[in-house]
C-alpha cells in the first residue's frame, strides 16, 4: 500500500498536559494511518487520550513530539492561516455535546463554516449558494422542518444531526467525530451512527472516537487506545 492511499497519518505522536504541578503524558508515541474513505473508530477508556488524538489529527491541538501528515504534507509545516483553512475546508468536527451556537438558528449553524471563510463581499456573493447547500444537508439529515429553530429547541439527536450538517458544510475530506453518540440514548445514537455509515458509503472518510466498543464495531476498522498507546490494530 503506497503512502498516497493514506489521507491522514500520525507518526510518533506524544502529548502531555500539566495538571497542577504534575505532568500527565496522554499520548506516548502514537502511529496511525487513516485510509481514504475509511470509517475508523478509536476506542478507549475515559482519559486514554482518544479525544486528544482526534484534536491533534484535526490540527486543533499540536503534538509535543511526532508528526501528523495530511495527504503527505506535515501539518506542522502549515502556517497559522493554512491551519485555519485546513480546519475550515478539509476537516469537519462533530463533538459529543454538539457545541452549536445558541445565538444562531439551525440553518445558520449549518452554513456558519461557509460564512467564516468569506469576507462581507464574498459572503454576499455566495450566500444563496451556501444557504442552498445547508438546506440540502438539513433535508438529507431530516431536519428541513427545524431550519428556523434555535438549537435549544431541538432534541439531542436533532442537535447532533445539525452538528454533523455543520461539519459537512464545506465538504471536508475527513470527518472527525468525538463521541458523537455519547450524550444520546441508544435509539437516537443508533440513528446518528446510521447517518455516519451512510456518509461513509458515499466515500466520506470518518474518524470516530468512542468509549463504547459496540458502537465502534459499526466502523470498518477499530483501534484501541490504552495508556496513551495503540494496543491493537
Amino acid at each position: 500500500m503506497s503512502e498516497n492511499d493514506f489521507i491522514l497519518q500520525a507518526a510518533g505522536v506524544y502529548k502531555s498536559y500539566k495538571m497542577g504541578v504534575a505532568e500527565v503524558c496522554v499520548l506516548k508515541g502514537i502511529d496511525l494511518a487513516v485510509k481514504r474513505s475509511e470509517f475508523l473508530a478509536i476506542v478507549g477508556a475515559s482519559g486514554s487520550g482518544k479525544s486528544t488524538l482526534l484534536h491533534i489529527l484535526g490540527s486543533l491541538d499540536k503534538p509535543d513530539k511526532g508528526a501528523v501528515k495530511f495527504e503527505g504534507r506535515e501539518l506542522s509545516r502549515h502556517s497559522g492561516r493554512e491551519l485555519n483553512l485546513f480546519r475550515n475546508k478539509t476537516v469537519g468536527f462533530v463533538f459529543q455535546f454538539y457545541h452549536l451556537l445558541d445565538e444562531l438558528n439551525v440553518l445558520e449553524n449549518v452554513y456558519l463554516p461557509a460564512m467564516v471563510s468569506k469576507g462581507i463581499v464574498g459572503w454576499l456573493g455566495s450566500r444563496k449558494q451556501a444557504k442552498k447547500r445547508a438546506e440540502e444537508l438539513l433535508a438529507e439529515l431530516g431536519l428541513s422542518e427545524r431550519a428556523g429553530h434555535k438549537p435549544y429547541e431541538l432534541s439531542g439527536g436533532e442537535r447532533q444531526r445539525v452538528a454533523i450538517g455543520r461539519a459537512l458544510m464545506n465538504e471536508p475530506k475527513v470527518l472527525l467525530a468525538d463521541e458523537p453518540t455519547g450524550n444520546l440514548d441508544s435509539a437516537t445514537g443508533n440513528g446518528i451512527l446510521k447517518v455516519l455509515e451512510k456518509l461513509n458509503k458515499t466515500g466520506q472518510t470518518i474518524v470516530m472516537v468512542t468509549h463504547d466498543e459496540r458502537i465502534a464495531q459499526r466502523a470498518s476498522r477499530v483501534i484501541m487506545l490504552a495508556d496513551g498507546k495503540i494496543v491493537n490494530k
Binding site: 457545541h99 444562531l104 456558519l112 467564516v116 471563510s117 469576507g119 455543520r166
Partner: protein, 448 residues
C-alpha cells in the same frame, strides 16, 4: 461576515450586555447634558464679554489714562479694517443718593462713554432697558433731556432702588464723587477741595449679563466722566479705546495691525508732553483683556472635562468586567469557532465589533435621551421652581437667562466617538484573551 452577525446577536440576546449598554448610555446622557449646558454657559459668558468690549482694546489699567487718544482714534478711523472706535474713561467713584434719608454712600466703578460710538463697538445698546433703539439717548433722562443722565448696571440699580419707573426723577438722582488725578498720578487738588462731585439723573438701566459689571458699574457721559476724573486738561486723556473690526476681519489679525500702528504712534509722540504715559499702554484682543474673568470659567470647563474623563475610565472598567463575564460565558463558542477555522484575529474582531456596537448603540440612545432632556430642561426647571422653589442656577446670583440647551454637533460627535473608544478600550484585553483561548481547553471545559 460572521463577526458582524454574531456581534449583533450577542448584543441582542445576551442580557448581561444590557448592563453595559445601560452604563454607557447613562454616561453618554450625563456627559451630553452637562457638556452642552457647560459649553453653552461658557460660550454665552464669552459672548457677553465680547459684547462688552468689542474686538480689540487699547489702554492701561492705570487710573491716569493716556493722552493723544483722539489722534489715534483719527488714525484708526482711516483704517479699512476698523468699523468703529469708542474711547472710554474708567475709574472709581463714591455715589450717594440725594433725597434719600439713609444717606448711603457706595463705591462703584464708573465708565464714561460716548453712547453713539460705544453702541457701534459693543453690544451696549442691546443691554439697555429703554433706549435699545436709539442708544444716543442713553444719557438723556426722559423727564428732562437737558440733565446729565446716568445708566446704572441692573443689579446696582436694584440695590439703589431705582429699578422700575422711568418718567420722573424722584429719588433716582446720584451725586458722583471722584478723586481727580494729574498725569503724574497725584491728586489734582491737593487741598481742601479734593473731590470732584457732580449730580447725575437716572436715564436708563443696562443689563450686560456680566455679574460684576451689572452689580457695580454706572455709565456716565464721556465728557462728564473725563471732567470728574481730571482727565480733560491740559491734555485730554482716556483710559481705554474699544475697537470693533469690520466683518470678516479676524480679531487676532486686526489686533496685530493695530498693535503695529500703536507702536509707530508712540514713536512719533515720544517727544511730546506726557508721552511717558503712552509706554504703559497695551494693545490686547478682547479675550486677553477679559482673561481674568474668562479663565476661571474655562478652568471650570476643563475641570468638568477631566471629571468626565474619570467617569470614562470608570466606564472602561464596567465594560472590561462585562466583557470578561461575556467571554467567560462564550468560551465554548470561541472553541467551536476555532474548530471551524476562525482565526484569532477574527475572534478579536468579533468581540471588538461587539464592543463597537455597544458603544454605538449607547451613544445613539444616550445622545437622543440627552437631546430630549435638554429640549425640555427649561420647562423642567420652571416646573421645579414653581412647585419646589428649586433652581439649578440661582438667577439672583448667576446672570443667565434660559439654561443653554442646544447640543452642538461637534460636542455630540466627540461624545459618541469617546463612548465608542471607551467601549473598545474596555473590551480590548478581554477580546485579546478570547482570541488567545485554547480551543481544546474551552471545548473540554464545556464538555465537563
Amino acid at each position: 461576515m460572521h463577526e458582524i452577525i454574531l456581534a449583533v446577536r450577542y448584543l441582542l440576546r445576551r442580557h448581561i450586555t444590557y448592563f453595559a449598554v445601560l452604563a454607557v448610555t447613562l454616561c453618554v446622557f450625563i456627559v451630553a447634558v452637562v457638556m452642552t449646558v457647560m459649553t453653552g454657559l461658557v460660550d454665552e459668558f464669552k459672548q457677553k464679554n465680547h459684547n462688552f468690549v468689542g474686538d480689540c482694546v487699547i489702554g492701561t489699567e492705570s487710573l491716569v489714562g493716556f493722552p493723544y487718544y483722539e489722534d489715534f482714534v483719527k488714525i484708526l478711523g482711516g483704517c479699512d479694517y476698523v468699523e468703529a472706535v469708542s474711547p472710554i474713561i474708567k475709574s472709581y467713584a463714591l455715589i450717594s443718593q440725594t433725597g434719600v434719608e439713609t444717606g448711603r454712600n457706595e463705591g462703584v466703578e464708573i465708565m464714561g462713554i460716548e453712547p453713539g460710538k460705544h453702541g457701534k463697538v459693543t453690544g451696549f445698546s442691546g443691554t439697555l432697558s429703554y433706549n435699545k433703539d436709539d442708544v444716543s439717548k442713553a444719557f438723556k433722562p426722559v423727564y428732562d433731556p437737558n440733565l446729565a443722565g446716568f445708566v446704572a448696571g441692573v443689579e446696582l440699580g436694584r440695590r439703589l432702588g431705582i429699578q422700575g419707573g422711568y418718567g420722573t426723577a424722584g429719588t433716582r438722582v446720584l451725586a458722583v464723587s471722584c478723586f481727580p488725578l494729574t498725569a503724574k498720578g497725584t491728586l489734582a487738588r491737593a487741598g481742601t477741595d479734593l473731590v470732584n462731585t457732580k449730580t447725575f439723573y437716572y436715564s436708563d438701566t443696562s443689563q450686560s449679563g456680566l455679574v460684576y459689571v451689572d452689580g457695580s458699574m454706572i455709565y456716565l457721559p464721556f465728557e462728564q466722566a473725563q471732567l470728574l476724573c481730571g482727565m480733560s486738561e491740559p491734555v485730554k486723556r482716556a483710559n481705554w479705546l474699544y475697537i470693533k473690526f469690520r466683518p470678516g476681519v479676524k480679531f487676532i489679525t486686526g489686533c496685530e495691525k493695530v498693535s503695529l500702528l500703536w507702536r509707530d504712534f508712540v514713536k512719533e509722540r515720544s517727544n511730546q508732553t506726557q508721552a511717558d504715559l503712552l509706554d504703559k499702554v497695551t494693545v490686547q484682543n478682547w479675550k486677553d483683556y477679559r482673561r481674568a474673568f474668562i479663565a476661571p470659567v474655562e478652568k471650570e470647563q476643563v475641570m468638568m472635562t477631566v471629571m468626565f474623563g474619570l467617569v470614562g475610565i470608570t466606564t472602561v472598567f464596567i465594560i472590561f468586567v462585562v466583557f470578561y463575564m461575556i467571554i467567560g460565558h462564550k468560551s465554548k463558542d470561541i472553541g467551536v469557532l476555532k474548530s471551524i477555522g476562525v482565526s484569532n484575529m477574527s475572534v478579536m474582531r468579533l468581540f471588538c465589533g461587539f464592543a463597537f456596537l455597544i458603544g454605538l448603540l449607547s451613544s445613539c440612545v444616550g445622545l437622543f435621551g440627552g437631546w430630549l432632556f435638554l429640549l425640555e430642561i427649561n420647562k423642567i426647571e420652571g416646573w421645579l421652581f414653581k412647585h419646589f422653589g428649586f433652581q439649578l442656577w440661582d438667577r439672583t446670583i448667576y446672570a443667565i437667562g434660559d439654561i443653554p440647551n442646544r447640543m452642538g454637533f461637534g460636542v455630540a460627535a466627540i461624545i459618541a466617538l469617546s463612548a465608542i473608544i471607551v467601549c473598545l478600550a474596555g473590551a480590548f484585553l478581554p477580546s485579546r484573551q478570547a482570541a488567545k483561548l485554547n480551543p481544546v481547553e474551552t471545548l473540554r471545559v464545556s464538555q465537563i
